[in-house]
Amino acid sequence: MAIWNVSKECMPAADRRQLQDARLRKLVSRLYHHVPFYRHRLQELDITPGDISGIDDIGRLPFTVKDDLRDNYPFGLFAAPESEIVRLHASSGTTGKATVVGYTRRDIEVWQECVARCLTMAGIGIGDKVQVAYGYGMFTGGLGLHYGAENLGATVIPISAGNTRRQLDFMVDLGTTAIACTPSYLAHVMENIKENQLQDLLKLRVAICGGEPWTVEMRQKIEKGLGIELFDIYGLSEIMGPGVAQDCDQHQGSHVMDDHFYAEIIDPDTLEVLPDGEVGELVLTTLTKEGIPLLRYRTKDLTSITHEVCACGRTSARISRFRGRSDDMLIIRGVNVFPSQIEAALLEISETSPHYQILVDRVRDYDTFEIAVEIDANLFSDEVSTLEKLSRRISETLQKAIGLHPTVRLVEPNTLDRSDGKAQRVIDKRRLF
């Protein structure tokens, strides 16, 4: 298969390390001089830019967490003047406040470059028709794939998420050869294709799936069901968006674009850096970002890393399939959900947050999301219509807070599990990892 950027993707290890060293030095200097938050952090550790000679010194640098972005909302961590920011994106925060990220023109070019590498890794090129079924808007998924596919020279079908009827019509009529969407949505589309017997009318060859965790079983099921090859793309808006890593046709881990993003694995409790092969929390440093560069950002994703050269010829580091999260975040239908967001939303309805339990499951490859709420004295009514209104209000409040409609189930008080004195807030019956 083709390689988009041989000079970077197949760099000898020593050259790559030299490049990363130089970029890290420049990054630290940029942050020290342009971002007060980072300057203070470095000063607290008695570090000046001259103290960091390269990757060997990265262990001395402080970590960055999501709360740091939230606390500096919206532009407090930007390293470039606002006039140089040509794009803003946002993702949901842990308690409702969004995290805003900004891109300079150069950042957008790097993003396009990384996604073009990923698409090429999947065998996509000029002549392919790429249906981008990730959401367009403040979310990085749609526009990330769009700009990358356009950069590549493929034909982009910017259909965004949802409207399965239309997705299928376009796939058949326009001759889509590649689709980019979440794996659970692709499974859903597959059911539709089978029901409508459209299989033979499709030219679909490959799918770029990401945005949520998925199992080997899910992958095999879709690959067999549609007769296509699936690729696992990774990204997060804090770092860039989709394109931070993806697997190649060897499917032996995802190649990290490590000339742009330096990856480390740490023990989430002790914070020490772990050796290759050990599972821990993925930490990413944005070596070339200008808009909102981050030092050692803790992603909360659990994985392991290897620096062995891949059979595909690429020399970049590879991360394994994800093993879980080190926090309580859930991903439901591709949407990030924090239980703390739900708590905050329920407080809008009642002065004391009622006892609740979230039940997440997967039925026919589609995530189901139910919230059971105990009818305590605050919420009780003798009228069924009032309770129905309450159910609707809970559903709408949560929809506004997290972007998903739960099914609401009102239950008797003291019926939800309170083992060890700490309520078990979330029951996730899906086996994702």
């Binding site: 009818i375 305590d376 004295a377 009780f380 003798d382 009228e383 069924v384 219509s385 309770l387 129905e388 189930r409 009102l410 239950v411 008797e412 008080p413 003291n414 019926t415």
Partner: protein, 132 residues
């Protein structure tokens, strides 16, 4: 104003039996009741001889039981008296729910909850009906 015992019941087997048993154990007599159901739960409304004691017994038994203010209106136990009562109330107030209470000849009792209880109670009394 009378007190009704309102109980939230999940649609699980045995809940009604549990309620009836707890009230029996507490020596409470059920005088009338109504069960409104939805697909997920039921709202059980009971008129008992000692509502406070009944609420305490059900609460101790783990039920979500609360006291609700309702009216008990006595209308003549003959054909047409219900429509006369409803005509009296007119269309300016909502009837939230109603169900029969007990018949003590020559009258039949109706439990009622409406959107404006004080207004309704006054109007019904003024028309000569007995209201608890």
């Amino acid at each position: 104003m009378a007190k009704q015992l309102s109980v939230f019941l999940e649609n699980r087997s045995g809940r009604m039996l549990q309620v009836a048993s707890l009230l029996k154990s507490a020596g409470i007599n059920i005088l009338s009741f109504n069960l409104a159901e939805t697909s997920d739960y039921g709202m059980l409304r009971l008129m008992v001889d000692d509502p406070e004691k009944g609420a305490a017994a059900l609460d101790a038994g783990g039920f979500s039981a609360h006291l609700t203010d309702v009216m008990v209106v006595y209308i003549p136990a003959r054909m047409g008296s219900l429509s006369e009562l409803l005509d009296l109330l007119g269309d300016t107030i909502d009837i939230r729910y109603m169900y029969p209470y007990q018949t003590q000849e020559p009258n039949a009792g109706m439990v009622m909850k409406v959107s404006d209880m004080p207004w309704a109670e006054q109007r019904i009394r003024d028309a000569g009906y007995t209201v608890d």
